[in-house]
């Protein structure tokens, strides 16, 4: 007869033995009541486990666990997915076609208009912020200068607007138009009366042509200029005269040292 060991006894308790094996252990247990008690304990453990958890298997099965329903749902989704895919292809085709024909119309918007719109948008978003108005505070203006200059890959000084009554709050880096350098820096200035103006700077446009533009949009005044090194848009809601004075100061300081810079005209 084979050896009776711990594994055999556990298999016996778990009902895993065949007839012959069971009888063999039965005979052994009659002679060994200690072991019989241990087997009984294992079986009571199993009984307790079944008493605890077996009822969950007798509960009515909720509809969401019916295999037929799940299968039906899946095939509906598959059909739906095919439909959506077809619709997406058609829409994409329509979009591409329309885009191609509208190309001349869309391309007619000059880069300056895009930059001014971005500048005004960034101005509106961040002047409303109190604690998070800037990413890097103006007290660390040296770091701010080198950081933003590196990111825009051009030398960018922080204009000093003390004479106009504005001090530097700080600056932040913003994502820009991909075809116009992809990055922009925003500098924020604040007056003693908590009026805020922002300066939106990007690297030069591909053509590097000088340009000037003064616009009013959505309640904000924007003064835009570009040269071979940078584009700059000063945005604020101050009266026009003060905006012009500020813009003049910014322009003068930011173009200082640029070769062949043109004098600011207003």
């Amino acid at each position: 007869m084979s050896e009776i060991n711990r594994d055999t006894l556990m298999a016996y308790a778990d009902g895993q033995l065949d007839n012959a094996g069971r009888q063999h252990v039965d005979a052994y247990l009659t002679a060994n009541p200690d072991t019989a008690a241990e087997i009984a304990l294992m079986q009571r453990q199993s009984d307790a486990i079944r008493t605890l958890f077996a009822p969950a298997g007798a509960e009515p099965v909720p509809a969401r666990l019916k295999p037929r329903r799940i299968a039906a749902e899946q095939s509906r989704h598959r059909r739906g997915a095919v439909g959506w895919a077809a619709a997406a292809v058609i829409l994409l085709g329509v979009g591409l076609g329309a885009g191609w024909f509208l190309r001349p119309v869309l391309d007619s918007r000059p880069p300056s208009a895009t930059l001014i719109a971005d500048a005004i948008n960034a101005h509106t978003v961040y002047v409303a912020e109190n604690r998070h108005a800037v990413e890097v505070g103006g007290e660390d203006s040296e770091h701010l200068t080198s950081w933003l200059s590196n990111r825009l890959e051009t030398q960018l000084g922080m204009p000093n607007l003390d004479a106009e009554g504005f001090s530097l709050v700080g600056g932040r880096l913003l994502p820009g138009e991909p075809e116009l350098g992809g990055r922009a820096a925003q500098l924020m200035y604040e007056s003693a009366d908590k009026e805020r103006v922002t300066i939106y700077v990007t690297a030069a446009l591909p053509d590097g042509q000088p340009a000037y533009e003064f616009t009013r949009y959505d309640g904000a005044e924007a003064f835009y200029w570009a040269n071979e090194r940078i584009t700059c848009t000063v945005v604020g809601t101050l009266p026009e005269e003060r905006m012009k004075a500020l813009s003049r100061a910014v322009y003068t300081q930011l173009t200082e040292g640029d070769d062949g810079r043109e004098r600011y005209r207003s």
Binding site: E3, L41, L52, F53, G57
Partner: protein, 168 residues
């Protein structure tokens, strides 16, 4: 196809029971079973291995359960209020096992022992089928079962280790 769904359907009560015992939370358990069924049904043609369907379903369920455990450990665990038992006094008569005490003892088992013990004691599977589901050798399964039982015995206050001799 519909034959397959019928076979799956006969396994659902067992899957729910096992999932409930693993999670101790009726909603989580049914979510687990639903995930398991969705996976099995969507993969029936492509991925279904040869061998018994029941074993395959239990394997899927266990894998989903382990994944959920891993992510809930990161999030902090969700415990069903129903699953927290009142503290109970030890069983009055020797040999009687208090159910609440047993439930708590099972909770404290390492996951691998709990998974194995429940497949055998609750689901009544054969050692071989359980070993296949858990993807472990038969000997490993049996040693996990042995350790689980010893831990339960210690935790439910029943006298430990009656000496066992090996006899011919």
């Amino acid at each position: 196809m519909s034959d397959f769904l019928d076979q799956v359907e006969t396994c659902v009560p067992a899957l729910r029971r096992y999932a409930r015992a693993l999670t101790r939370n009726a909603d989580l358990a049914d979510d687990l079973v639903q995930d398991c069924l969705e996976r099995a049904i969507s993969r029936q043609g492509l991925f279904r291995p040869r061998g018994p369907l029941r074993a395959w379903l239990f394997t899927i369920l266990l894998n989903l359960h382990r994944n959920a455990l891993r992510s809930s450990r990161r999030r902090g665990q969700e415990v069903d209020i129903e699953a927290i038992e009142e503290p109970s006094t030890p069983a009055p008569q020797p040999g009687h096992i208090a159910l609440a005490e047993m439930a708590r003892a099972i909770e404290t088992l390492p996951a691998e022992q709990k998974e194995a013990l429940l497949l055998i004691a609750l689901e009544g599977l054969s050692y071989q089928e359980a070993a296949d589901i858990l993807k472990i050798p038969l000997g490993t399964l049996m040693s996990r079962l042995g350790r689980a039982r010893a831990a339960l015995r210690a935790a439910t206050g029943t006298p430990s280790e009656p000496h066992l001799r090996t006899v011919k």
